[in-house]
Subunit: 107 residues, 2 copies
DNA sequence: TTTTATAATCGTAATATTGCAATATTACGA
DNA sequence: TCGTAATATTGCAATATTACGATTATAAAA
């Protein structure tokens, strides 16, 4: 065991969990926040900004990118990152739908 | 290593990550969804509803409860769960603030 | 008091995640 | 082509998470 049993859940539930997981690590939140604050793209100022090794940042970037949240363009030898706002907006809507539809009359 | 370095990040960033983590597992999303659908409280129908063992469900419930998202009342031998909508709403607002404030002009 | 139903906890195995050093790759400029 | 800067990948150690059986607590009912 130790494996998440995704197959027992609906797609909707799995989608929410997978989406939330991207934001479930402070380094990834910080990376997205930093890119956002820089307005447009940057390179490995992220490594300087956040106190983690280049390897670790690169891994987190890969997780964010796999989720479809990054657009990258090579600008010289550096890579220019920016947020794919379309996917980002989809994520917002998905999570918000979950929050909005959840109700509970307490006992 | 293997430990998330929370201390290098701001409280805001850590709060978002901790909040998102609650929803980062499909079982927890499914539990919340089920409680919500039942309107008010239930007991261990959750175990029957979701295909996980009682011990596992209990663990996930503990994670949700630790986040402040559950209210429980003992009703007979069974325990009655419901969602703490105040905390839930706070979570919604926190995550939404992050989504709303994030911008990016792509390269 | 004993039984029974319900839920929490313990112990443990399997797997996932985090983080980093070392190394590879990629792309540019000299 | 070589050297160099920027990123990605690999391999590994430490830790966290997930899941479950077994056990333990708890409270109502018999």
């Amino acid at each position: 065991m130790g494996v998440t049993k995704r197959y027992i859940h609906s797609d909707y539930v799995n989608d929410i969990a997978i989406t939330a997981k991207v934001f479930a690590h402070p380094a990834r939140v910080a990376i997205l926040k930093y890119i956002s604050e820089q307005g447009s793209c940057i390179c490995n100022d992220i490594v300087d900004e956040i106190g983690l090794s280049q390897a670790t940042i690169s891994q987190h970037l890969a997780v964010i990118a796999d989720a479809g949240l990054l657009k990258g363009t090579f600008k010289g030898k550096a890579k220019c990152y920016c947020i794919n706002m379309e996917t980002f907006e989809n994520f917002r809507v998905l999570l918000n739908s979950f929050f909005i539809t959840t109700k509970s009359k307490c006992c």
